[in-house]
C-alpha cells in the first residue's frame, strides 16, 4: 500500500512510529503525481523542492507536523503563483500568506501544490478553468464537479493526503460528492477569508477535502478562528471539531427536507440517500420530515447575490496593479480590454449579470428582493433546526456528469448546485460524505450524502457524519487507477 493512500491521521501515526518521514511523504506524492496527474490534471502547479525543504525540518509533534496539504489555486501562498485558473492572473506571484496558510504553517503542515478550479471559483465542473479541465478519477470522461474540482480529484486519486478548497454555493461539497471524498464547508465566519481571492464575500468560506471525517475535523481545528484581517470572521470559541467523534447517535434527530426529495433526482442517488437515512435509524438516530419551503427560490437568490458581489469583487482586475494588462494608450480602453482578454466566458457572463442586477433602476427588483428572499431561506433553516440536529439530503442531484454536457448551457449548469446553495445563503455548516455508488454506462460513480448542521456546531455535524462513515466503510473505496 502506498503512503499516499493514507489519511492524515494514518500518516501522522506513521510519522510518530518512525515508519515514514515527512520527506518520504513528499517523495511518495511526487511519484504518485508523476504517474497520474498527466491524466487527471488536478494540479496547476507544484513545487517539490520547497515542499521537501519544509519536510526536512518539519516538527512532527505539532498538530499537523509534516503533513502536506494541497491548496486550491485561489488561496494566496507567499512566493507561489495564484492564478484563480484565470489568464488574467498569469504571472502573478503571491506576496503574502492567506491566514489559513499561516495557520497551517504554524501547525507544522506543508502547503503543497496548487489545485485546479473553475475560473475564479465560478462553476460546477472545473471546465471553466483557463488551463484545461480536471478529470474525475472514477471516469476520466466525466467532470470532478466544481469549483474546487482539482482539490477533490487529487484527494480522491491519492495525489494528496488532504486539500483546502472554497465553497460559495457548494464548491467544496459538490465536487467531494462527485469524486467520493469528504468535503466540509464550515459555518460562515468560522474561517478567515483573508488571502482567499474573493468571489462572493457574503457566501465564500474555506474548508477541507479529506479522506475521512476525522481528518476534516483535524484540518478545521487548525484553520478556524477569529482573524483581525477578516472582520466577518467571528469571535466564536473554536471548539474541537473532533471532540464528539465516536459518540453514539441516541437522541440525535435528522430532518429530511421534503423539498429536497423531488422528481428529477437521479434514482440511484435518491435510493442511496434514502438508504443512508435508514442506516441512521439503525444507528439510533431519529429521522423526521422537515420543510424548507423557500428551497425553490435558492438558485435564483444565489445567482443574483453571488454575481452582484462578484461583479464588485472582480472590478479590481483592471490591469493596473497586477495581472494581465492590454497594450493600449488609453486608460479606459486599458481597463476594458485587459478584462476582455483576461477573463473567460463564464466570468464575463457573471460580471454582466451582477452588474445588471446592481444597476440603477434594477437594484430593488433584483438585488434587494433577492436579499429579502435570502432572509426567508435563512428562517427556514432556523425553524428546521428547532426540531432537528442536522438536515440530511443529497449533495448533488446526480453523480458526475460527462464533460462538455452542459458547459454551454449556464442555466442547466447552475441547477447542479440546487442542494448545496441554501446552506451558503443561510450561512451554516455542511458536509458531504460518500454514501454509495451509482452504476452508469458500466462505470461506478460515487454518490454523496449531505448533512447540514446548525451554525457553529461543526463538532456535532462531524459526529453524525463519522458514525455513518465508520459503520459503512464507503470512504475506503478508491478508483482503480
Amino acid at each position: 500500500m502506498s503512503l499516499t493512500s493514507l489519511s492524515i491521521a494514518e500518516l501522522q501515526a506513521q510519522f510518530r512510529s518512525g515508519a515514514a518521514s515527512p520527506v518520504e511523504a513528499i517523495d511518495a506524492l511526487e511519484a504518485r503525481i508523476a504517474a497520474l496527474d498527466g491524466r487527471i490534471h488536478g494540479y496547476l502547479s507544484r513545487d517539490f523542492a520547497t515542499a521537501r525543504a519544509l519536510a526536512e525540518k518539519a516538527d512532527i509533534s505539532l498538530p499537523l507536523g509534516g503533513v502536506p496539504i494541497a491548496i486550491k489555486d485561489v488561496i494566496n501562498v507567499k512566493g507561489e503563483p495564484c492564478t484563480a485558473a484565470s489568464k488574467i492572473l498569469l504571472g502573478y506571484t503571491s506576496t503574502y500568506d492567506a491566514t489559513v496558510i499561516s495557520k497551517l504553517r504554524a501547525a507544522g503542515a506543508i502547503p503543497f501544490g496548487r489545485c485546479n478550479l473553475d475560473e475564479f471559483a465560478m462553476g460546477s465542473s472545473t471546465e471553466n478553468s483557463a488551463f484545461g479541465r480536471t478529470m474525475n478519477p472514477w471516469d476520466f470522461s466525466r467532470v470532478p464537479g466544481g469549483s474546487s474540482g482539482g482539490s477533490a480529484a487529487v484527494v480522491a486519486a491519492d495525489e494528496a493526503f488532504a486539500a483546502l478548497g472554497s465553497d460559495t454555493g457548494g464548491s467544496i461539497r459538490q465536487p467531494a460528492a462527485l469524486c467520493g471524498c469528504v468535503g466540509l464547508k464550515p459555518t460562515y465566519g468560522r474561517v478567515s477569508r483573508f488571502g482567499l481571492i474573493a468571489f462572493a464575500s457574503s457566501l465564500d468560506q474555506i474548508g477541507p477535502f479529506t479522506k475521512t471525517v476525522r481528518d476534516a475535523g483535524l484540518l478545521t481545528n487548525v484553520i478556524a478562528g477569529r482573524d483581525t484581517m477578516d472582520s466577518t470572521s467571528l469571535d466564536v470559541p473554536v471548539e474541537d471539531a473532533t471532540a464528539l467523534l465516536g459518540q453514539d447517535l441516541k437522541g440525535v434527530k435528522l430532518g429530511m427536507p421534503r423539498e429536497y426529495f423531488i422528481s428529477g433526482i437521479d434514482p440511484q442517488v435518491d435510493a442511496a440517500v434514502r438508504a443512508a437515512c435508514k442506516h441512521y435509524e439503525s444507528l439510533g438516530a431519529e429521522i423526521v420530515e422537515v420543510s424548507l419551503p423557500h428551497t425553490e427560490h435558492a438558485v435564483s437568490v444565489y445567482y443574483v447575490i453571488a454575481t452582484a458581489e462578484a461583479s464588485a469583487n472582480l472590478a479590481r482586475f483592471d490591469g493596473v496593479r497586477y495581472g494581465h494588462r492590454a497594450q493600449t494608450e488609453n486608460l479606459l480602453e486599458m481597463y476594458a480590454r485587459s478584462r476582455a482578454e483576461g477573463f473567460g466566458p463564464e466570468v464575463k457572463r457573471r460580471i454582466i449579470l451582477g452588474t445588471y442586477v446592481l444597476s440603477s433602476g434594477y437594484y430593488d427588483a433584483y438585488y434587494l428582493r433577492a436579499q429579502k428572499v435570502r432572509t426567508l431561506i435563512r428562517q427556514d433553516f432556523t425553524k428546521a433546526f428547532e426540531q432537528v440536529d442536522a438536515i440530511i439530503c443529497p449533495t448533488s442531484p446526480e453523480p458526475a456528469f460527462k464533460a462538455g454536457d452542459r458547459s454551454d448551457d449556464p442555466m442547466k449548469m447552475y441547477l447542479a448546485d440546487i442542494f448545496t446553495i441554501a446552506c451558503n445563503l443561510a450561512g451554516t455548516c455542511g458536509v458531504s460524505l460518500p454514501c454509495g455508488f451509482a452504476t452508469t454506462d458500466g462505470v461506478r460513480l460515487p454518490i454523496g450524502v449531505q448533512l447540514i448542521g446548525q451554525p457553529w456546531k461543526e463538532a456535532r455535524l462531524l459526529q453524525i457524519a463519522h458514525a455513518y462513515e465508520q459503520s459503512t466503510g464507503w470512504h475506503k473505496e478508491r478508483p482503480a487507477l
Binding site: T95, S202, L234, Y303, V320, R325, K348, G361, L376, T428
Partner: protein, 94 residues
Amino acid sequence: MDDQFNVRYTAQLARLDLTDAEIEKFQSQLGQVLSHVEQLRKVDVSAVAATAHANAVTNVFRADESRPFFSQETVLSNAPRSANGLIVVPKVIE
C-alpha cells in the same frame, strides 16, 4: 424576461469589452437566467428585512495603529509597469 436587459450597455458599466458574438450569446443565455429569477416576484417580501450577510456584524473596530505590511518593492513586484516607485498607466490628462 426583462426586456430592458441590454448586454452592450451593461458591459460598458462593467468596463468589459465584449465582441458582437459574445453580446448576442450572453443576451440569450442571461435572458434565460433572468427569466428563471423572475419567480422571485411571486414571493411576498413586503414585511421582510434584507439579509446582506449570514452574520449581522456591524462596526468592527480595531486600534488605529500602524504595523508592518508590504514594502514598496513588494507592492510593485506584480505591477505590469512601474518606474520610480510608482505604477505607470496610460496618461489620463492631455
